[in-house]
């Protein structure tokens, strides 16, 4: 169960992190 909770956190952070990175990309393109 603990392993699963850790993996859950990892994958949630991965997905959210990717989308956050894409948001940062959008901000960067706005300044281009």
């Amino acid at each position: 169960m603990e392993t699963f909770a850790m993996l859950d956190i990892l994958f949630i952070l991965l997905g959210a992190g990717m989308l956050a990175a894409l948001a940062a990309y959008a901000f960067a393109l706005d300044r281009l």
């Binding site: 699963f4 993996l7 859950d8 990892l10 994958f11 949630i12 991965l14 997905g15 959210a16 990717m18 989308l19 894409l22 948001a23 990309y25 959008a26 901000f27 393109l29 706005d30 281009l32």
Partner: protein, 569 residues
């Protein structure tokens, strides 16, 4: 190839083309905020949603605000769907008693459905509860399709407007796409599917007595409703593992016709709607012409390759008349299988009515190449239109270079900023596809998922990442994708192919909306004539060819020559 086969293909394409104008006009009215025949019922419902969500419809967004709204909405969808899949054993409507999905598979599936890819590293009937199918996956089928349509409409408005920074309101566009377009069509198609024999039930299974007298447990569920939005929203995620080859998802030749018509209808109608909304219907037809030329060529190539069959099997006496029937359903035959394979990969649908891994090498190359061309033939319900517009921008740029004039498209000058953004969008596909394929093809944890050695194995990996990055979702089928490596990397490819494309596309739209509209002059390159259609076709083929021909040479082309030399895989 037979005359009857081409007649079948022709009838489907004529039916779809006949729908393009009326549906396109309706879509244009919906997104222009005009009254439609559904308004008396849906306007109050729409207003209710806005009140509940606190959406101020008169407030429009800049391109950045629109993009951030798309990303935030998709993040929320991903989190909800991930939780639903991990916790499906605790949720209702699980008569099969399925456990929650493992974290990596839940991650892959959640990303897959939020990005409209619907890549399925699982068999639906053995993994997903009815609640997950209906409240999770089917809901995302609607919302991801509506998200793509909203982005396409935002890009359309960039050509309609001048000297403004607003592209519209994402929440309004999303709601209208769902309420006025996807839901009504899905209801109609679901009823038609039920009439054609697709089951619609919340039972887990039923027991049938076979001809030999044995008892067989057959999985069942809310199939008709999922199938309808699967096709209409160019999602592709089926209820069953074998997708539209399963007799419950696609029981007859006529349901197969309806499947294909449903797949193509909104995507083509959106292109017509684009022409209508920018006041240049000929432009819409020109873009549809580009789609049809390349799509029909692809259909013909698959049909030819599959009816030619496998010479190795012919040499041992297998009947040559039917061509290569491995992996195909007899009730569809060669023509309708070729049509489905080309259409599903020219769109970003990804549903299959045959096993693509069983296609001949060249027959399998065509669907793969159609995905790699950028999913613009005609592409997803929204992504196809904005993808085609990006190619059109590249085409007018090339034309402008040739004649030494500033390129312009529909009255908007295409300058350095737009070109940089277009290249950022276009290059994300080869980066994701070739990058991940390279690592997976050399690393042990990637290679061990291949079930077929040699060039076909490379094709399996290349097709998987092409499908993921192109948000298609179809698979060659021979790759054991349900591993932590592929679940994670395919998901990353899907995210990049979807949102790392949408962000620069919206930036282009923002830039174009802020420009004044230039009046056409004698030196303006017309973009609704056959010359532009030919140029655009050339640009699409050259981009796809240059980027992916080396990989294709090592995969399906090598396999084809190996087959001619007597070696099979």
């Amino acid at each position: 190839m037979t005359f009857i086969g081409w007649l079948q293909i022709g009838l489907v394409l004529i039916a779809v083309l006949s729908l393009a104008k009326p549906l396109g006009l309706y879509i244009a009215r919906v997104f222009s905020g005009e009254r439609t025949w559904l308004s008396p019922v849906l306007v109050p419902l729409e207003a209710c949603f806005y009140r509940l969500a606190g959406v101020r419809t008169e407030r429009e967004q800049s391109w950045l605000g629109y993009a951030l709204a798309v990303l935030a909405f998709s993040l929320a969808g991903f989190l909800v769907l991930y939780a639903m899949l991990r916790l499906q054993h605790l949720l209702p409507l699980n008569p099969q008693g399925f456990a929650g999905l493992p974290p990596d598979l839940a991650f892959n599936t959640a990303v897959s459905f939020v990005t409209n890819t619907n890549w399925q590293n699982y068999g639906g009937e053995t993994t997903m509860s009815h609640f997950s199918q209906v409240a999770g996956l089917t809901v995302q089928n609607f919302l991801s399709a509506a998200t793509g349509m909203a982005v396409a409409i935002a890009v359309t408005r960039a050509f309609m407007r001048s000297k403004v920074s607003e592209l519209g309101n994402f929440w309004v566009d999303l709601t209208r796409a769902t309420l006025y377009v996807l839901l009504p069509l899905a209801i109609m198609v679901t009823i038609a599917f039920i009439g054609l024999g697709l089951p619609q039930s919340f039972d887990a299974s039923f027991v049938a007595t076979t001809l030999e007298g044995a008892q067989q447990t057959i999985a069942i569920g809310p199939i008709a409703s999922q199938e309808a939005i699967k096709q209409l929203g160019t999602n592709g995620g089926g209820f069953f593992n074998v997708n539209a080859a399963h007799p419950f998802e696609n029981p007859t030749a006529f349901s197969n016709y309806l499947n294909i018509i449903a797949m193509l209808s909104i995507s083509l109608a959106m292109v017509y709607a684009f022409g209508q909304m920018v006041g240049r219907r000929r432009q819409g037809w020109a873009l549809i012409a580009v789609t049809l030329v390349l799509l029909i060529t692809g259909i013909g190539a698959v049909y030819w390759a599959e009816t030619a069959g496998n010479p190795l099997l012919h040499a041992v006496g297998v009947d040559t008349l039917q061509g290569n029937m491995e992996g195909k359903e007899v009730r569809f035959g060669q023509a309708m299988t070729a049509l489905y394979a080309a259409v599903t990969t020219g769109l970003s649908d990804g549903g299959v009515n045959a096993m693509h891994s069983s296609l001949t090498p060249l027959g399998g190359l065509v669907p793969m190449f159609l995905i790699q061309l950028g999913e613009v033939l005609p592409g997803g319900v929204g992504s196809g239109l904005y993808g085609m517009i990006v190619f059109a921008i590249l085409a007018v740029f090339v034309a402008g270079l040739m004649v030494g004039r500033t390129p312009e498209f529909l009255g908007k000058k295409i300058e350095a900023r737009e070109m940089k953004l277009a290249m950022l969008a276009v290059l994300i596909l080869p980066l994701a596809i070739l990058g991940f394929t390279t690592v997976s093809a050399v690393a042990e944890f990637g290679v061990r998922s291949i079930t077929t050695p040699g060039p076909h194995g490379l094709s399996e990996i290349l097709y998987a990442f092409s499908s993921a990055a192109g948000n298609n979702g179809s698979a060659f089928g021979g790759l054991s994708g349900n591993t932590p490596w592929y679940n994670t990397t395919l998901a990353l490819a899907m995210l990049l192919g979807r949102f790392a494309y949408i962000v620069p596309v919206l930036a282009i739209a923002g830039s174009l909306a802020a420009k004044p509209r230039a009046e056409a002059s004698s030196g303006t390159f017309p973009t609704d004539r056959p010359l532009f259609v030919g140029l655009l076709i050339g640009i699409i083929l050259i981009m796809g060819g240059l980027q992916f021909f080396p990989a294709l040479a090592l995969g399906p082309i090598a396999e084809h020559f190996a087959m001619l030399a007597g070696q099979s895989f």
